[in-house]
Symmetry: C2
Amino acid sequence: MGVLEFTGNLTHQTVVPLAVFVAILCLCLVVGHLLEENRWVNVSITAISIGFISGTAILLLTKGKNSHILRFNEELFFIYLLPPIIFNAGFQVKKKRFFHNFFTIMLFGVTGVFISTLIITVGSRWLFPELGFIGLTAKDFLAVGTIFSSTDTVCTLQVLHQDETPLLYSLVFGEGVVNDATSVVLFNAIQKIDVARLNRWTSLQVIGDFFYLFATSTALGVSIGLLTAYLLKILYFGRHSTVRELAIMILMSYLSYMLAELFELSGILTVFFCGILMSHYAWHNVTESSRITTRHIFAMMSFVAETFIFLYVGMDALDIGKWKITKLSFQKLTGIYCTIVLLTLLGRAAFVFPLSLLSNYINRRAQSASSITFKNQVFGFLTKSLISHLLLPNTLNKSNCRQEPRSPREDITLPLLSFEESASTNILRAKDSLSMLIERPVYTIHYYWRKFDDTYMRPMFGGPHSGSSEC
Amino acid sequence: MGVLEFTGNLTHQTVVPLAVFVAILCLCLVVGHLLEENRWVNVSITAISIGFISGTAILLLTKGKNSHILRFNEELFFIYLLPPIIFNAGFQVKKKRFFHNFFTIMLFGVTGVFISTLIITVGSRWLFPELGFIGLTAKDFLAVGTIFSSTDTVCTLQVLHQDETPLLYSLVFGEGVVNDATSVVLFNAIQKIDVARLNRWTSLQVIGDFFYLFATSTALGVSIGLLTAYLLKILYFGRHSTVRELAIMILMSYLSYMLAELFELSGILTVFFCGILMSHYAWHNVTESSRITTRHIFAMMSFVAETFIFLYVGMDALDIGKWKITKLSFQKLTGIYCTIVLLTLLGRAAFVFPLSLLSNYINRRAQSASSITFKNQVFGFLTKSLISHLLLPNTLNKSNCRQEPRSPREDITLPLLSFEESASTNILRAKDSLSMLIERPVYTIHYYWRKFDDTYMRPMFGGPHSGSSEC
């Protein structure tokens, strides 16, 4: 197996694009760092701009042939770039806060998509023929509805910061994850629907499908996370090598995503829950150096994948080939584009405001601090909707940067922590559990979960013992 | 850019092989760990065996269609798997020892390949027609000669351990790196040679080409290593993020390999020197957590890539397609195979023994401890030659495992360190430098290098100040 045998075969076709792309990626990191001091610019804007500039350069150098050097396809995105980003989000998410807001997240993620799909479908069916865009079937309109109802978690993670706007981050991101699952099941359900025989059972079946998909995807992620934790615990790799522990953690989390895709579940949901389980159990079973390394490896992979995506988006804007594919005129295209953006905004607005009110009403009964303010509804969700469709990301990100520091910091950790401490020291509180369940359901669930976790899960799968304040 | 749009397109064609392969890889890590206690088995054997078993299973499941699930091509190997392995080797190599043995390494790497190529070429030209294998031109025979003279550094790294047999490891590995460069240039030179007009100038030109390739590849690796160190130093990423430092280090080292391939240099040589420079300068410019993380990331990537390769080798053994391609009879194939193995061994023996004698003679004048023992020549080099052609890896690795612990530990660090200390404290020694240069050339070069390094390089590119004992 001499090395030489193939060296001559490494074609320029593969080497040139990769070398150029890696070089641009490096440039992007350095420039992004230099511009970070500037509050008007963030990593995604830098990446998109550099991508656009290099796309222009390549377009001129290749004499108008193509603007992008790497063939970016769904595979590249879904097999290599998305899993590390979502896994890292699950791995680093503040678990306590995420599960505290679980009800709100589910409300937005599930009900929201249904409302949004309905509005976009009906709207496009009514408006597209007016614009002269005809020939779509009822199924196509339903597909358009689901596609534009799903939100992009990657953009969300870039725009919002977990530490600056904790409540908004966990809501928007959590909704994105649930949202994806809902969209996947809706889309699949629509492909199967016989439009001629639509009846009440169809929608019930879609809802049933959703719960099945949600449950199985979560169960797969949780199982693989627990399996990894158990494997690391019984084999105790630390005795021998950090290298093996790292490899096992990375490969197992990747496996969870691939298995979900294989079984046609929501890979995003699976890898997200796998990340949560890994950080909750598996992470405690490895050596100190593995712990430091994993935190940084996952963050780094996620960071590089994000930069890669934004860089590509900048390059892709100049893709002449894609512009030429359509036979529609520029005016018609603009009209359709604007209609979709408008309908998407409308679809989001239609569920964000009423559901926020509902969620606030329910939460206020429990605790007043965690309500969703009007500013959050406007800037957070609006920005995300728009950015997820890549409409003028520059100006919007800027406006978002300006608004974010002003948005109120929802400090919900303080009451939560003080409750925690008292719970672990004061046994008398246990007798109040029934009244607690009525008054503060989320806390009570959390309390019993902690008890279960400390008694059964942690001794089995690893993790620090009770009373620790990690979240 | 909703996530959903493409989800439906993720074909089973891509997902199934990846999921299966990742699962097997995980299995391999766990089984490899469990069997590690057993001294007769190592990671490569486990991987090859598991690969063979799963290959058989897949062959039976697909009813004899194919035994391997991933299309393994040169690109996968040379673009994704080889760079991390060689980079990690450069990053973790004991630099002091490597450069101490530089003369010996060059002697084996350069002269060895020339001798070996000559023997294999002449031998195959004489023996192949005897076996009834005709139709090859003079150029083909020369190509066969170069191909089987290049050695596989990956196998070497698996069989030998830096800590157990330090001298042998650095010699064999170092030779492998240099050897690759020599083979690449010889192979390219042969493709250009006009066999009808062979004269004295041809060989001179080949030698000239080699030095050009060696110098440029090294220079590229060194430049990128220094550039990375300088970038990290002036930008001081640590203030902001470990993530960026990690990304820069990984991407820059990968870039060095891709650029070398782009300019048709030896990527292996480049990325190896880039690794050395990174660990010498760049590594000292990053935060503490980055330092821990990089060491483990690189080792982990290298480990996974190695396991991947061995796993594939096991699967590939059953590849029916490749066996069917040839029109030659089984007996003829066996004859040719044996001839090549024999000639390769002969080719290696022809330069390993005389050159070891020469090297020992020269080194003995300087220092007696670093000589190459007969046992090293026999077991080390013989094993490598055979393993690099994948001949009965099981039994050979076993015999190697048995022999290695017995081979004498060449403790050359002790005199080196004691000299070091005295050099840094005793200024009087400086006046002896001329006589030192004559008596102990390697030490003197090292001494002056350290002075230059401390005075000019480290203040510029980073690194600990003089007197430190890191190597």
